[in-house]
Subunit: 118 residues, 10 copies
């Protein structure tokens, strides 16, 4: 059965948990729907984190982002939600999620969410 | 009622039919599905034409490209189909459709279809 | 009735008020008049803020910037005024307004206003 | 009295009429209104011509482009009109007018009008 | 069983054989061995063709390029061989193969092979 | 009477003296003479300051830079002198003057002077 | 006998051990195998360090990176392993290893490992 | 005595007169005066020619361009004059002179003069 | 014995003499001496040719370019000489030699020699 | 007598010793020899310093860098030596010397030496 979109992020154990290091994903293929008009929105996401015990599995991230394809999602809200879901899945030591949204009304919007584990 | 995706391209009369001139659209927001796996594909389309009697209405082009969102479409086939639909709608004197598809299997693909009215 | 320019910025509740995160708008479509000569001036504005309780609504920002179209405005003054209006509308935790003005007298001018909530 | 916008293009005699040579203007400061919504549109114009007996005076070109500021103008139509006005003013041996319009509906539009004297 | 490298290019029928159009592949992931020293060489290949009856299947191209990984191959020779293999597989109306080889001895080498069907 | 070069910088009152904000000028049109050979030197100047009570008037800055056209001036000395003259004129809270000088003897030179009000 | 790949990094004495200074290597020619599928992966590595008593010999670094050519290696793991091997070989005062991996599943991955000597 | 500006272009014999080949000069350091206002103008000149019997001596070109420093010169006129002077000095087989003038009135101007020996 | 500079270009048989194809070398490491002052000159050479029976061996090209290191050479002359030596060595069907010389007297010089076999 | 290469750096008194400011030289024309093979190496040097009592004279820097032309010099060693020579000549308050060496063995090397006066 071919892959399906899913909000379940898969993880694997951090191969170097004794060290702080950074993993960055550049995801130019994101689309969702505008909650007000139902029209498509597009964005490029950049996700950067310092893993603690777990890492995000790459294919699972692809399926996770795919899962927004038919959902209504405001720019500010969905960028925070993606950050929340990653925090929930792997409790990273640090996290930055950048959503770079395409032009609407002549204006481009970039939302940047950062998180640090206490 | 909000706008809906549609394969019907709207047109308007060419305001300068006595002259050959060029209209180019840069459309970075295109997505469809892979016919084999059902997974999303993304592309940036550039459409350039010399109008004859009619021009493509901009908003209608947006709705037209949106209409591929849930369709399965091979890279080579869909680029030709978009060219065919524009030819059918306005019989342009010249037309170039470029589909610049995102990386799959480590390889990027650009399909370029050109047409000249006889 | 179609949209009208207005100095009234619309806002909506911050969907993630418990977290400091950043929203950035890139606004390449700004024009006003030179107060001395009445001739048009052009600028690109970049507005970046950390929301507190409220966020700026995107369409309203477009109408707000439009409202300067027929006003006389000095480079330094108007950049500060835009910052003041955003502070008044949403009391952001942090704010940066950058006005990148087109060349006059062979010289380009960039005005950068920053603000931090006490 | 300060300068005023005007559709009257000023000209001066070509200093080298025995030779075909090219003059190109890069005009990033153009704005007009959308005839349907009344909202501002923005474009960057590039005007390139081979003069015959007359040349376009630079300051007069600035005032000419300014004169569109409060007019409704479709992308395709206005680019042709600017070409027509230049042809009328100086009958150039060759002319290219490129209007590069800012993104609307997620799509950028470039209109290119060329003309050659018979 | 996972995919294996193979010199067999897979093809599929051209969906628009009545029209000359262009398909371009950008393949940054190519490596082979230097026939003299056995050391690795790297290149970026760009393959552009006008299909006749058949098209190259994308995944098969990936496996084809992979098949050079453990072969000795001179820059000039292998670029010609890749062109020959594509010609043999699909007899394209036109073909260009560009091999952009990484710096050796302080010098970068680009080999460009073009072919046109008689 | 047309404008004349002058070392007198004109100023106007800071419209927002209660706030630290930054004004940056990009001045690509600077030329002076080499004090040793009398030959022309060229530079691009970038001047950035945080105003206190006064701001530099843009046209006056143009005339000020023009005033160096026929003066002999060493790279290091003139960059400091420009900074000194701005400090004297408006006592800015902060100031950076960057002189980016064109290649001489195969070497480009950038001189950067910074100043902070005590 | 020609050079062979080897995991043994060669070193030479730091010519300026009394000073902290930085050596950076830009290595665009890295390839290994995906441990799950056996298919090739490609990356560009950037290695930056402050030497203590020893420096990495350049040719030896080339052979070291070559040694991964036929090994299975996860992105996160191998970037850490390269850092570990450099630390073991020369105990640098500071070290950063950046692995910039080519697109897989539409997503690019950059892994950045930093280390500081205690 | 140090070098002086001069309109006299020095030449030397073409070392390869049996072959058509091209010599291109990139001259970013040009300034003259506006004939109307007396204010400085700046341009970057690119001069490309196919020599016949003579070539332009590089230092002499520098002194030639310097000689415009205190002259009034319209954009279109001076670009043609420079072409004329080069034609007079060396009768090149082909010549292109491009004057890329800095922004005035919000508009940049590029004048391109080409010449071919009959 | 280590490699020595030599004006003798080594060649090898063209592996595809039945086809016109292009080989391009990008050589950023060229230096010679100014015949007038004895001071070093630097250039980047780009050499592009369509081979006939023979090809230029890469390492030999490196040694050939090295051989100019201590020779006096005028820009125009040496670019022609390099073309002549390549023509003599392999009689290419087509050849372009571009010498892009670093700035002298504020002016950059690019010499482009092309040759076609009769 | 024409200029000769020399390791003696000439200096002149700092025209603004009461202020910390920065002077940066961009030197793209550096070549020396590999101590192991005798073959040429090339680099671009960037030298940035805060002067104390003395400044480096520009022409003398050119002659200084020229003096390495026929010397064997390891990347790491020579970058440190250039820093040492500048420190000895002018005892700058701060100094950074960056040597950006061309690709060898497929790897580029950048050596960065920083110094601060105690």
């Amino acid at each position: 059965m071919p892959s399906q979109p899913t909000k379940e992020l898969q993880t694997f154990p951090n191969p170097a948990p004794d060290r702080d290091y950074e993993i960055a994903f550049d995801c130019p293929e994101f689309t969702c729907l505008c909650p007000l008009t139902g029209q498509p929105d597009f964005a490029r996401f950049k996700i950067t984190y310092v893993p603690d015990q777990g890492c995000i599995e790459l294919k699972s991230l692809k399926l996770y982002l795919w899962a927004y394809r038919n959902e209504g999602a405001f720019h500010e809200k969905v960028t925070n939600t993606i950050a929340d879901d990653i925090i929930k899945a792997i409790q990273p030591r640090k996290l930055t999620v950048v959503g770079d949204w395409f032009v609407r009304g002549g204006i481009g919007t970039i939302v940047t969410v950062t998180h640090e584990k206490k």
